[in-house]
Every structure is written in structure tokens, then in C-alpha cells.
Symmetry: C2
Subunit: 395 residues, 2 copies
């Protein structure tokens, strides 16, 4: 039988990068290309206890069909917690529990975007979200990143010239892949500009709780008085990614449409995981847990930075970062970046080429992304040494 695929699927091009990365899971490979939380970051003792009590005391609740909007006590707790701690969400907002934050990107796009409509994004940006937008045939317009976040001039220009812009996608804290954090003045300016152009902001904040240096900055959603911002939160980096629990906090009118779309996608998210997240947040010393995570990642970031100082400087430069899971490194013009990644992978040190994070993979890019949460300390030191040596050979 001959199959005819939909236009949206046909438009998803195979990636040149996938070819480079397809060996990234071979044995012995140092996983600098990953994005997994560190194994010691999982609160599995608490999860085991909660799960045991849940399956002993109220098993039917944890196993029966549930509602699409999400487990009501978790939604209520998040509404209160995010409002009190982060100023996120107000009376006209609603909370929707999703199957990971990726589903927030998917449902918002499904709700708002017609084929060919424009999504503004940071350049570079998170490849997973860009691919979700592409699957709805979005036109992606990348706006350059600066040391303090998205270029305001670039954003103004895009808002003035692009047609049918549905939203701006931004990761303001420890952005994936650049590690950059948007400054407070820029957060305010982004909010005002988008509001004035009647363009929604999709604020993706998976790493906000993983700040190990500097001061917390208010989220863009915390300025939101007019229903401009859809906030995406996630338990993947702070509890468990395998549970697939994320959430959206945004204007009720939009959330209600996203609920209808979610009903058609997966009816509701795994209810055991939602209850575990709720009880973990409310019964297990959540703030102390976040502090422990910050300590873990502060230490691992220090291991990486020391190795980069020893083996990368001055040939390879990197953005400073105060949290998150990634470092963004840049090669001198004399080195072919894709060839560098290819040879690094052959030598078992696998980083991600920066072109993977661009709206157009064929654009020039000298940067690559290093993850420091997945590798062990030893692997980090070894991987950076391999890549540093390789760069000196290729320079």
C-alpha cells in the first residue's frame, strides 16, 4: 500500500544534525549532548513513600479516569504557590496540568495557529519547542539573543514587519541552549511591546528554580494585567521528567480551548504522577528540596567551568550562566563547527551543534551546547579535555 502523508508531516525535514547525533547513545559516549537531570537530583525516597501510601490507601483514585483539566488539588496548590511565591497567575487566569511542558507548547499552538502564521522566537532557541511549532506549519522568525536576553530592536522590527504573529516564545531564565537570562528591563519591555501589538507571550520556565548564583528575577507573567502571557511550568527538572507533568497558567479563555484540544490528544495526564507531584510539593519540604538541587547543579557547573578554564580558554569562549543545565560555547572562525562536533563524537565527547537551535539550520554558527547535569564529574572533565585538545588541533 502507498501512503500519502499530511502536508504538516511532509514539511518536517530530516535534520543534518540527527545524523551527527545518532551515535550519541553508543556505549562509552560522554553524554555532553543530553539534557537529563542528574541522577542524584531525583527525590526517589519521597516518591516511593508517597506512591506506596497512595496505592495502599486510595488506589482507585490513582488508577481511574480523571478530568482533562488535571488533578484538582494540584491545580489549586499551583495556583496558590505560583501566585504567592512568584506573582504568577491572577483571578482571570486558569491552571491546566499537561503531559510535560512540551504539551503546553503543543496545545497553545493548536489553539492559536493557522498554517503559515508567525511565531517569534529567540535565536537560538529550544529545538523541541521549535519542532512543535513547525509541526503546525508555523513560520518561525528568530530574533537574535544578546548577553541580557532577546534583542529589543530585533523584536520591535519583527513585531512591525511580520504578519499574523500569534506569539513570542521565550525562555527568560538560563535559556536552552544559550544559558542567557533576560534582564529585568528587557522583561518589562518585552511585555509592553507584545501587549501593545496584541501578541501573546509564551513564557517557558523549566529552569527557573535551578538558579545557583545571582538573584531571582520576576517572570514576565508577573507583570501580566491584561492577559498577555501564557506561562509554562514543569516538574521535569525539579521532580522527574519521566512522570511527564507540566502545567500552563494563562488566560482562562485560552486555557478552556486548550482543554478541548487536550481532551482529543490524551484525555488527561497520568493521574498517579499528578497526585505524587501534589503530595511531594505539599508534604516533603519542597523548598529544601529545591535548595538541594541548586547545590548539586552549582557544584557540577563549577566542575564544568574549571575544566573549560583549563582546556577551552582562550580558544573556545562561553557565555556566563547562573543556573539551568547548559553552557553555550563558541569556537573561533578558523574551526569548522560541524566538523568539530563530528570529530568530538568520534572521540566519545558528544556536544550539540548550535545550528540545531536555529530556525534555519543552514545559517552560519560557531557555537555548540554542553550539558553539565547528565555526565558525571569525571565525564565532564574528560569530555572537556577531549574537546579542548581537538580544538587546538583544528585551530
Amino acid at each position: 500500500m502507498k501512503y500519502e502523508f499530511s502536508q504538516r508531516v511532509k514539511s518536517l525535514k530530516p535534520s543534518a544534525i540527527r545524523e551527527i547525533l545518532k551515535n550519541s547513545s553508543t556505549p562509552g559516549m560522554i553524554p555532553l549532548s543530553a539534557g537529563n537531570p542528574a541522577p542524584d537530583a531525583f527525590p526517589y525516597e519521597d516518591i516511593r513513600k508517597i506512591s506506596a501510601s497512595l496505592l495502599a490507601d486510595t488506589p482507585i483514585e490513582a488508577l481511574q479516569y480523571s478530568v482533562t483539566e488535571g488533578y484538582a488539588p494540584l491545580r489549586e496548590h499551583l495556583k496558590k504557590y505560583m501566585s504567592e511565591k512568584h506573582g504568577v497567575g491572577k483571578e482571570s487566569d486558569e491552571v491546566l496540568i499537561t503531559s510535560g511542558a512540551q504539551q503546553v507548547m503543543d496545545l497553545l499552538t493548536k489553539t492559536l495557529l493557522n498554517e503559515g502564521d508567525t511565531v517569534l522566537c529567540e535565536a537560538p532557541s529550544f529545538i523541541g519547542s521549535l519542532n512543535t511549532f513547525r509541526s503546525y506549519q508555523a513560520k518561525l522568525r528568530g530574533i537574535p539573543m544578546e548577553a541580557d536576553g532577546i534583542s529589543i530592536e530585533g523584536l520591535e522590527n519583527a513585531l512591525d514587519t511580520e504578519k499574523n504573529i500569534k506569539y513570542l516564545y521565550t525562555i527568560p531564565n538560563f535559556q536552552n541552549p544559550s544559558g542567557i537570562t533576560m534582564s529585568l528591563p528587557k522583561r518589562k519591555k518585552v511585555y509592553e511591546l507584545c501587549r501593545d501589538h496584541n501578541v501573546l507571550v509564551l513564557e517557558d520556565n523549566p529552569y527557573g528554580d535551578l538558579r545557583f548564583a545571582g538573584e531571582d528575577l520576576p517572570s514576565i507573567k508577573s507583570f501580566d494585567q491584561e492577559g498577555v502571557v501564557m506561562y509554562a511550568g514543569s516538574f521535569s527538572k525539579v521532580v522527574s521528567p519521566g512522570m511527564r507533568v507540566g502545567y500552563a497558567i494563562g488566560p482562562r479563555e485560552i486555557i478552556q480551548k486548550m482543554v478541548v484540544c487536550k481532551q482529543g490528544e490524551d484525555v488527561h495526564s497520568n493521574i498517579w504522577a499528578q497526585i505524587v507531584c501534589h503530595r511531594f510539593m505539599t508534604e516533603c519540604g519542597y523548598e529544601a528540596h529545591l535548595q538541594r538541587l541548586r547545590d548539586i547543579y552549582r557544584r557540577k557547573a563549577a566542575v564544568l567551568t574549571a575544566a573549560m578554564k583549563e582546556h577551552f580558554a582562550p580558544l573556545i569562549s562561553w557565555n556566563s550562566f547562573e543556573g539551568g543545565l547548559f553552557a553555550w560555547c563558541t569556537l573561533p572562525e578558523s574551526i569548522d563547527m560541524l566538523e568539530f562536533i563530528r570529530r568530538g563524537t568520534e572521540q566519545k565527547a558528544c556536544a550539540v551543534p548550535g545550528t540545531a537551535f536555529l530556525t534555519d539550520e543552514s545559517e552560519a554558527c560557531q557555537s555548540f551546547r554542553i550539558n553539565f547535569s547528565t555526565p558525571t564529574d569525571e565525564q565532564l572533565r574528560e569530555g572537556i579535555e577531549i574537546l579542548g585538545k581537538l580544538a587546538r588541533e583544528m585551530a
Copy 2:
């Protein structure tokens, strides 16, 4: 701020039926409108033991990111089990684990359907799937059901006259809502007709293991030599719906595209639930468990049938059914069906109006659906008595 929604979301019309059913969860309501497995059908002792051992022995595996295709041991086991037991799946097929079987409907539609393309379905059919197809702006063409399954004449006519048909959606066993099982000759004919017209068959089989009378019939997928059938399976009715684990078995070329779409929707399905399903299938006497479920539903179906014989006959008729969770009942022409459902709900006996399951809700329909898995035996008897008395009043 003013929001502009996508065409696909704007085209999802509010349902007249939702208004009737919105009180279905009020306290004291007899849940004849539900579709939940019976509480005593959950193997929660086994799930508790598996989960405890899993979170004690290999917690990181159960909590870390996993692959989009699904937990490899579960995929391999399903491939072997479904092939050996049901003749489902061969070398050119692949298995994809999904977040409930609903996601199979979603991913296949996303992979194949352009706006305005046609989906053939049984009339009536499962409202959840119809709404998924609608969310991709499918043109739905309903084909009448007969006592032994879909009308072959109707199918031939649709295949000959409709344009851009992407697939036929069918639930061959104990169909939701009609309870009808497709005969063996019709299964063969459906396969041949679709193959000859280069139209895929989406075979949805959530209830196949719940046969409590009669003989098992081979699935349409078991005839598939040419890559014509995408099979959707589910653990929702046989293990737990709250876990959200389903699966697709179908042509590798299509499954690979569905994997790309799933990556953008939710990255992967909850991994704890996938491992629990695998271990439950392989370690806990799965066939004996299925037998126990059939015993539960055979008994509950007998309670319902006895009540219908006492209170419905001869005024209200019903389709005979040999498995599944639903009975399909039909009122005489003298009774206004929607008014009957409305008044039944007022009297705390809430059934689903048959129009909910049609491609066009405004079509004439004298039928309604009764679920017998969710209510207790006592509730079943009481609910049927209320509806029987009401029908006699209204006749």
C-alpha cells in the same frame, strides 16, 4: 487583550448534549452515562507490589527521561504477545506506546490528514475519537451500523463517492456506543474493500479482551498482508485508564512519522506506567486477570439485562451484546429522546443521548447509551427502573 483562535478550534462547535450532561457528576446521580472500569476490576494489589519494587530497585529508570517510541521491553512483549495470541503485527509493522489509545487517533490523524480530508466512521461511533478527527478539520462521513457491523453497501458507496478519504475508523468488538460486534465475513470484506481503494483502516480495539459470551473473532489487522491496518490497543479497560497507556501496531513507515509527531506533543508517555504495564503483563498471571474481568462484566451485564427485561421491555428495545461496557437502547417513535434523557437526568438516572455519537448531532435518533461498568449493581437496577417508568409515562 483580544484573542484570535485557530480555524480548527473555532470549528469545534459547543455541544447541545454537553448542556444535558453537565449535571451528570452531581451527588446522587446514577452514572449510567460514564465509561469507567468497575472499581473491582483494578489489579491494584499487583500494581502496588510492582510499583514498590520498581521504585526501590531501579527508581531512576522509572523517573528519568525515556524514548518517544516507548519502553523497549513493553514494545517487544506486545509485539510477541499480540502476534502470537491475536495474529496482530508482522515484520513490516512497528509498535508505538502512546498516552492512552486516544493518542493513536490523534497521531494518525496528524500524520495523514489535511484540512477537509475525509474520515469514514461507523454511525454511531465513539464521540472522543470523532472529536479528535474534528480537531484536525476532518470531513466525517458516517456509515450506518447493522446488527452484524458496518453496512458494506454503505461503505462501498462512500469509498466510491467521497474524495480524499484517509482512513476508515472502526471499533469491531462491542462497539462504543452500539455494543455491536462486526461479523467475520464483514471484517474480511472491510479489509478487502479498503485495501482495494488504498484507504487505511484504523481498527480501535479497547474492549476486545472483555468478551463474556460467544466466540472471539479475528481482528481486521490479523488479515493484513499489505500494510492496510493501523491497530489501536489500550490498557485502560484491562489495567488502568488513569495510567494513560495505549499502543499502536501498524506499518513502520507510518509509525515513524507518528513518533515525530509524538515527540512534539509529549516527548514520551509516563515511564513508570509503561514499566508497570510490562511487568503486570509478564509477571502477574495476565490471562487469569482477563478471565476475572470477564467474570465481573458478565455478572454486571446480567444485572443490567435482567433490569431491562423487567422495566424496559417491550417499550424500550436494546441491541444484544457479548462484551464491552455498554448497552444501546432504543425508544419508540412516540417518545422524544432528548426530552427523555433530560427528564431522566432530573430524576438522577443519567444516560447519554444517541445523537452524541453521530457525525451530525442534529440527525434524528431514538437511541441512548447505558454504561454498566461504572454503576453498582444496586444503581443499575434503580437507574433502569427510573428510566423504564419514565418511558411508560412519556409513551
